[in-house]
Symmetry: C2
Subunit: 337 residues, 2 copies
DNA sequence: GTTAGCACTTAGGCATGTCGAGTGCTAACC
DNA sequence: GGTTAGCACTCGACATGCCTAAGTGCTAAC
């Protein structure tokens, strides 16, 4: 029994199953792929593959389907990432170039990726930490309510309303704004807290309480900003691709809604040498995703923010991986300097 | 055949069907509800209701289920909006009060409403038009790229990047900012364009082209801002409540993703005198929602922005309407002055 | 206008039978 | 030793027939 052929058989099973959605039998295999042997031989190979836990039979007299382990081997060793068609590349470029503000870029990216892959697309907001504070604005909404706006050089704008704890005049606020601005402009967001503390320390005792409140607000903004949010698109694909649902979509929708779960999952995924990480079926830490796979990669200057897709374990990995990788590259380019 | 009893029968059918998810027969009706007549009489009433198109039988020998028209009559004339339990009211209050920035408020609102109703919640971003310009900020991201930030007194912050058409210095930009600020601060967003034109006209010829670009950007912001976005929550409820799906969720997910469709639908809904609008099944202009109902209402100072839910036509209207109305009220209060 | 009674319809459950796809095994073959 | 043909066996999918329970519509009596 030749080892290379066994892998070839696994590859054929994965490809056929992804394509047909039906368990694939030995006879169908020899017909569709020109392996130069008979179906009986294939049966022996398949029995071996089953012993190794790479494929399984849903019931006695049906064909075989790949297991999570089988998909893993397929992704790691057998398949090559398929390059995108020029048409697709062009589509990515045109679609992404038309956009300007960050929300819009991410939104378009998600929609694009979901169309390209026919899966659910997930795009995490880029991390702010490496960015540099460009501008701070305080706006008095009510005597005690102050809207804080933090603008970073990445073009990202974050906002929050804080309670000043006491009534304020526009003048006081303007003074404070100047103080803060001179103290933190140009500071990397990551080390903002230290600088804020210095500014607060430099305030007059009268200003102190308000400055403290504002400083806290800014700190919160920098720390807790939108990088823990994400954009979704293509949820409808879940229902479509699963007309005969091997994937019960309820738990998956729940996972998608629990953004914390998804974000955690994305950042925990080990980066594959080929630049795209894949998490298959039960490899996912979240039970609701036991029948789903995630394909993701980082984007942006340090690739910490993630972009990816989620779909049934039975998906076309080579094509999907190519799409995710390509979109991430274009996205990095657009957001870059 | 007494007319009031016929309505009572319809009411009983709707309530039972919503509760049991199964067609309801004449015998079950007399047992569960103390109508003082026999099942034969009810049968006569039901035949009449069917003639009027208010109920229908899925097959010859099954009970009846309400039609869209039946639900409509139920909602309009029979049912009373159920008040929320004190516990629920408290939950709404605590959950919404903890939040500060607008994104957060809307997000929490959506989650809350979806939990309260077990349906998909939709919250439209509040309209900016009535708001007053509080602040404008220009930030130079690259020599020719300017980030424009527009802050309204509602606490809403919008942003956009524009191409200035020529290289700029920080100084030039600061001058222009002052000009724009003095020209438009305090202006209602709705009439911003006129004021912008005046500012541009008042610029020196050298400044003109840049001012024009910036003015255009601001105008676009005011006009086209996030009011055409919306927040979703509880999509997983679609899958859950429809284990035996009378509602195929694919088209519904598609509709939800086409935000344009949903926003259009929300704003087209006629306001009910009781303050909550309902659109039932085929009343919806969008085909994918033929088996779904939308319950929505306006919120905010002039109730133009909408908040609502979407679910199967077979839903508990009285309770749902109460929840939507209550949440909208709390939301208005939170966002109010 | 209401009721009882009865004939009629139909979905759904269940047992039964058949068909075909696919397997595992054994014995022969190169 | 690896490969092949052949064959018995298993099981899901599908069709058929039958039965029951639920529910209706109608008619005649109250």
């Amino acid at each position: 029994m030749s080892e290379p052929r066994k892998l070839e058989v696994l590859r054929a099973i994965v490809e056929d199953y992804v394509h047909s959605r039906e368990p694939v039998g030995s006879k169908a295999l020899v017909e569709r792929h020109h392996l130069g042997v008979s179906s009986a031989t294939i049966r022996n190979d398949m029995a071996a593959l089953e012993d190794e836990g790479l494929i399984t039979a849903p019931h006695t007299s049906a064909g075989r389907i790949p297991t999570d382990k089988g998909y893993r081997l397929f992704v790691d060793q057998i398949s090559a990432v398929k390059p995108l068609s020029p048409a697709e590349k062009r589509a990515i470029q045109t679609l992404l170039e038309g956009s300007e503000d960050l929300d819009d870029v991410l939104d378009r990216t998600a929609r694009l990726l979901s169309q390209l892959t026919n899966q659910v697309a997930v795009v995490q907001y880029p991390h702010l930490s490496r960015a540099v504070v460009r501008h701070i604005e305080f706006v008095l909404l009510a005597p005690r309510k102050v809207l804080i706006v933090l603008i970073a050089d990445s073009g990202k704008v974050d906002q929050r309303v804080v309670d000043a704890g006491q009534d304020l005049s526009d003048d006081t606020l303007a003074t404070l704004r100047t103080r803060f601005m001179s103290g933190v402009a140009g500071t990397p967001v990551a080390i903002l807290p230290q600088h804020l503390a210095a500014v607060v320390a430099g305030c007059t005792p009268a200003e102190r309480p308000v400055a403290l409140a504002l400083g806290k607000g800014l700190e919160g903004l920098a720390h807790n900003s939108r990088e823990d949010r994400m954009v979704l698109a293509g949820t409808a694909n879940l229902a479509r691709s699963n007309v005969d649902f091997p994937l019960s979509i309820g738990p998956v929708l729940e996972a998608l809604e629990e953004q914390v779960v998804m974000l955690r999952l994305l950042s925990d995924m080990a980066q594959d040498p080929r630049g795209v990480a894949v998490s298959i079926g039960r490899e996912n830490p979240y039970d609701g995703l036991a029948e789903a796979s995630v394909v993701a990669t980082g984007y942006g200057p340090d690739a910490t923010a993630k972009v990816g897709i989620l779909g049934p374990t039975r998906m076309d990995y080579p094509t999907t991986m190519a799409a995710v990788r390509a979109v991430a590259r274009y996205l990095s380019r657009i957001l870059g300097p």
